[in-house]
Amino acid sequence: MTDLTRLTISQARTKLRGKEITATDLTEAYLSAIDRANPTLNAYVAVTGDKARDMAKASDARLANGEGGALEGIPLGIKDLFGTEGVHTQACSHVLDGFKPRYESTVTANLWADGAVMLGKLNMDEFAMGSSNETSYYGPVINPWRRSRVDTVVMPTTHQGDGGFVSAGGARTARSLDNAQLVPGGSSGGSATAVSAFLCAGATATDTGGSIRQPAAFTGTVGIKPTYGRCSRWGIVAFASSLDQAGPIARDVRDAAILLKSMASVDAKDTTSVARPVPDYEAAIGKPIKGMKVGIPREYRVEGMPEEIEALWQKGIAWLKDAGAEIVDISLPHTKYALPAYYIVAPAEASSNLARYDGVRYGLRVPGKDIVDMYEKTRAAGFGREVKRRIMIGTYVLSAGYYDAYYLQAQKVRNLIKRDFETVFAAGVDVILTPATPSAAFGIADEDMAADPVKMYLNDIFTVTVNMAGLPGIAVPAGLDSKGLPLGLQLIGRPFDEETLFQTAAVIEQAAGPFQPEQWW
């Protein structure tokens, strides 16, 4: 029997509806894959086996009657940031120890209403603050991709085995995997690893500065951050409310389209949810891009960018040109200010959102001599270093006397960044093509990044502009670097034009081919 975990969502959907396979078999296949791989990869922080089996059984009953929703029987992993009723929801922070919400986030409720099966909760950077998944209280997630070496091996003449096989001497090249463990990116590192290593059919993720697109690029998967307001934020643990958006990470563009269709909705419980009908994203895939205007922003050619990233970008341009798109050079002059503005706006909002973790209403409590002492000790013990760093920055830039110099200035710059995009879209550009990240996946405990927080922040240099302007962006795998690691391209679209992103990403996917890691785990 073929390994059911290798089926994409669209393939599994066909087989489930055709009664070739059952949701129970599919779910059991994933649960055993998780059982085998999770001690090594650490993608899941909680596995909900019983719940998954119950949901699969209910799906099978509906499928047997010829009923069922768009995701009927499809096993998914859920980022730990999403509130899931009665199930581990801790944003991978110590401060939320033991928290099991009495409510379900709108996004996950939408998925269950469409018949999806929950496999468990996925690891992430603590409160989604990080670009390597190393800030999680539950430890780092391991990328299923490893660097490979091409060695020339001199083969002696040998006699092997009892078959009497004789191999003549000579030289051949062999590709061997390096043992060094790499990060999957962050903050949705668990989501990216679980999808890439076949530990779920697809996963939910969130993106505040690149947390869907950067891990997708590091793991050869597809990740889309939709337009701000497309997916409800209700029931998702808040990091930076004006930037946070939920979206899927999936094995291919079609699966990402299927998942986003279910995740997106208009929700009265989120005042920033935008009242627009959710289109059928899948229908955009396969539509020709002939005549489409693709913008190439010159400011994304940053200093010190590896040659391989530039080469990948040029390949992407060539593929789209071959498919009939018109390539135009564009300028987004305030690009370089997006990251510094982000590191004022995001920590400011985070310091406010995270004020609620005080040891009173949920999670950890460390006793103190009085109530303030209890707050201070609880928060000192409950938050990790990166989270504390950001709360401190946020508190400082919002404090009396500094508000105008930092926060107000950053929000003005943010408007200029948004205007840059509006100007090129008004000039007729349909979609913008950029690299997704400035490098491939790096090693666990990278010394440079550990020594300088700003170095880690630079991972988001190509993705953060999109959050600042509230636009949709998709990362699609486009090639491998010389060490065999996946690299991604990013497409940025007009507000609520996710369809053009799926349509264009599918062209890149078709030209670049799918990417799967060699299994070692």
Partner: protein, 95 residues
């Protein structure tokens, strides 16, 4: 602008995070690295630019001022570290 250890301790107090002397010293360096990085925003000419209040030009939604939820005190306190009869328990605040 840069911060000194005293400022870091004051900010930690505002943020209700206990910091040791050692923490405060380390954070001073880290915070200054970040503040140095964001300094470049001062080069941008923002004259006549409004600060952003919303990425999407939507009007704040308002609902009817009526009760739509409630009567779930037990749910609300369910995750609290210490409760009594659906009240949150905290150390004594008033003498």
């Amino acid at each position: 602008m840069s911060v000194d250890v005293q400022t870091v301790k004051r900010v930690a107090r505002l943020a209700r995070i206990a910091v040791s002397e050692e923490d405060a010293e380390r954070m001073t360096g880290e915070l200054n690295a970040i503040l140095g990085f964001v300094e470049q925003l001062n080069e941008v000419d923002v004259s006549g630019v409004e600060p952003m209040t919303s990425v999407t030009p939507v009007e704040m939604k308002k609902r009817q001022d009526v009760v739509t939820d409630g009567n779930k005190a037990a749910d609300i306190v369910a995750n609290a570290p210490a409760t009594e009869e659906n009240f949150f328990l905290v150390p004594k605040v008033v003498e």
